[in-house]
Symmetry: C2
Subunit: 500 residues, 2 copies
């Protein structure tokens, strides 16, 4: 048995994943660790999937509700979705198999602001949580859990669940110990201010203290996180990153930002990584991240001495960077902090530190409403994630995206967003490879030209035509032509392209 399980009582609970899965009944509500492919349980999901398949073979049903921190991995969300083991899932996912199951109506999915998810469990909106399945790097002699590569909603799920199953993953470096800063948001009505003033403030413990009498099983694993390589930075991403940096420079010139202490929040992906690559060669110094996820680009900024601290709840690294993080966790834990999701995404702290948020999108409309989740208003991709937590409370909120997708078949700028995840009241700046649409201080009609200026040129005439029709409206605050507001999306559904 691994010496990573130092608590005597819990050593007595070690068993196989299949045995542990017997503690999870059909209909159970299960809270799992896992956030953007890191720190998810590696063994239980397959065992759960197997239970579902066995039940089906006997003509029975075995389905559970699964709550996580955010997205997990093929060997977690993927296997369970494939086996039809999930009835309901929240708050975020990005797995292709699961996405198909959701879009085909086979399983239920609720897309929830990440900062709300743990809180809703605490408040009892889902009823009693049955089981928490949480990965740890090790278990201390006292029975405390040392978080692995992410914290997510672990504290909330461990506190709320009747039963706890712990996976101890030998793959995770023991040097991660000290990176987590575990702070419990007081339960209502006993909430007090969260004492974070600066992104780098540590306010909690390096471990999660749990009620060990609730632990029914400990499972040993040795498996890597899902660490997907990033695509090399393409020309479009580079152009967008260039405009983003221009925007920051403009803020400096306008006296609204300094070269020191720019505080970054960043969604995950290739464009954000291009932005971070751009920052490497910029005049910005002492950059801080108060964000959800540590990405390759932030590691580079730390290594280059450009970023002083990165606060997040989890990692999303390429395999190469994940190796490096594991090997050098002792060094990185000086400048990286992993917080519970409720803290990393808390409106209170986000607003206090004064960050500039930067998130991707599926589409924006001419008035600045943002669709982050549904293609043509119906086909869900991933989910809102923390984009709402950060956008609403950022000092400046930006959305960055290529101006089109699918070889030009889809425009990222449309007349009317077909699903609205961030409203015209929240989005301040939209950036594509064609420039920056700075919507701050503008009434809706004054935003239109700015938005069309960042659309792909091939879509600008169609957008102009729409605006001409819309402007015939009797009502000029937010003119629309409702009969053709979704014409771009209808064409996409009918012909495969938004182009005429």
């Amino acid at each position: 048995m691994s010496d990573r399980i130092a608590n005597a009582l819990l050593r007595g609970k070690v068993m196989s994943a299949d045995e542990a899965a017997q503690f999870i009944d059909h209909g159970d509500k299960v809270g799992m660790s896992g956030f953007t492919g890191a720190a998810y349980p590696k063994a239980l999901p397959t065992a759960i999937a197997n239970r579902a398949k066995e039940a089906q073979a006997k003509g029975e049903t075995y389905k559970i509700d699964v709550y996580t921190g955010a997205s997990t991995a093929p060997d977690c969300d993927g296997v369970m979705a494939e086996a039809g083991a999930i009835n309901y899932r929240m708050p975020y996912q990005s797995d292709p198999v699961m996405r198909n199951a959701i879009n085909s109506g086979e399983m239920k999915y609720q897309d929830i602001h990440l900062s709300h998810s743990g809180q809703y469990v605490e408040h009892g909106f889902f009823g009693q949580l049955d089981v928490a399945v949480v990965e740890a790097t090790r278990i201390t002699e006292e029975g405390h859990l040392i978080p692995s590569s992410g914290v997510g909603n672990n504290v909330d799920y461990l506190d709320a669940a009747k039963k706890i199953i712990i996976e101890v993953n030998e793959w995770q470096s023991v040097d991660l110990e000290g990176m987590a800063d575990v702070y419990r948001i007081g339960h209502l009505p006993n909430r007090t201010p969260i004492p974070i003033i600066n992104s780098g403030d540590r306010i909690g413990k390096t471990y999660i203290d749990i009620d060990i009498s609730k632990v029914v099983a400990v499972v040993e694993t040795n498996a890597p996180d899902r660490n997907a390589p990033f695509k090399p930075v393409d020309e479009t991403s580079q152009k967008i990153a260039g405009y983003f940096l221009d925007f920051l420079e403009g803020e400096v010139k306008g006296g609204r930002l300094a070269y020191d202490n720019y505080i970054m929040q960043s969604g995950v992906g290739n464009v954000p990584n291009a932005v971070m690559a751009g920052l490497l060669d910029s005049k910005f110094e002492k950059i801080e991240a108060y964000t959800e996820v540590i990405q390759d680009g932030m590691v580079d900024l730390i290594d280059a001495g450009k970023m002083t601290v990165a606060s997040a709840t989890s990692f999303s690294l390429s395999p190469e960077y994940a190796e490096k993080m594991n090997a050098e966790a002792k060094r990185y834990r000086e400048s990286i902090i992993l917080r519970p999701l409720q803290v990393s995404n808390h409106p209170e702290v986000i607003r206090r530190v004064g960050l500039i948020s930067s998130n991707g999108m599926i589409e924006a409309d001419i008035y600045g409403n943002i669709n982050s989740t549904h293609v043509a208003g119906q086909r869900i991709m991933n989910g809102i994630g923390g984009s709402g937590d950060f956008t609403r409370n950022a000092r400046i909120s930006t959305f960055i995206s290529p101006s089109d997708a699918k070889d030009g078949a889809i425009s990222s700028i449309v007349p009317f967003a077909s699903h609205i995840d961030h409203t015209e009241h929240d989005a301040m700046v939209v950036i594509t490879e064609y420039g920056v649409a700075d919507l701050r201080g503008l009434a809706p009609r004054d935003r239109v030209a700015k938005m069309i200026s960042v659309a792909h040129p091939s879509y600008r005439p169609l957008l102009e035509e729409y605006v001409e029709r819309a402007n015939k409206s009797k009502f000029q605050q937010t003119p629309h032509d409702l009969a053709t507001a979704f014409s771009f999306h209808q064409r996409l559904l009918e012909t495969g392209s938004m182009q005429k």
Copy 2:
């Protein structure tokens, strides 16, 4: 001269409103006091309107940008809009004349989350603020302002403006002194936690300290706030209030709420007042309000010993209650606190106290997206106000509304909300006179039947027909039929009714 102006320097600045208006130039950005008809400047707006008319008579233009706390009154927003004196207005309005000017395209209006408005001025998103025009009850010997019946964005505007004009309104009771709790949110990067733990905590000063060297004019007034009578509670409001109370009772039964210490946020209007009347006879005790606006119903709850404290930023009272407030301000200031808008609506405090929000709406769609602002997506009514601040950060967010409007011509439940101010990620509960749609924990498709159950019966078949069409979609997360998603609104625009 009134002895309400105790500062010697400022006594030397007393002049007429017309003289004071000469300090406001064409093109100026002007921050005014005023929130839901209380504490707005009573004299300058008319003087500004006159300047605009004089300029027009000479073939010249005189227009200013006006920022306030929220809505004001006919003798403020109304006279300025009527005179064409306003170029741009934020963050909220409700004046009929101004609304028409906005909808006809004569003036620009940006509808901003109230909690963002003062902050955007601080951040310089609008450029330099030229003038602050702020009503006070009196000016102390030191030159401090004692707020009148509201605080709103006064601190932000007084701090940011180059010039200050003060109106001292004799109508406002001097006994209001002590009701305001003026706390300055630190400017970035020096923000610290706001030390409010409970709704009733006082953390600031009873006055606003200003840079008196910026004061260019002091104007004496003696005029009442706009205090509109509430309509008597009608049957529909009473039914909605009944369902709201049933909902609260359900929360108590479910162990998610206690009869003591229910913390209320409430929008303004007849339905909220009916809810408060219902609370008078309920089992709920030690109710607190952490809200924007003090209304008649809260005064009744305080008088009945049911409400221990009401924290807000302003008043919206009937004339009768305004008289009472003025006469008995000494007593009421023991249980009423008026805070700066940035504090009353701050995400940090709202989330910490754990309130149940309750706001009106124009329409909700079958998936729980909420339109608070635009009829048929285009004709703006008032604005989002603080509904986003409270909805997003509430422990439980509710929307309460009659199921129809305009004698049945408009349904409050529609297939696709024609303007989305609160997304499916934010709205938890929708209540009409037909019941409670509790959407918590439900995937989008599972919300549909709940939403239709609270629609007006005359619209249910039309909604069912839409759902049948929508469910033919290839994508089952949020099925829609985009060709007919706005069919209700198109019929309304074409025929004057959403009914077929």
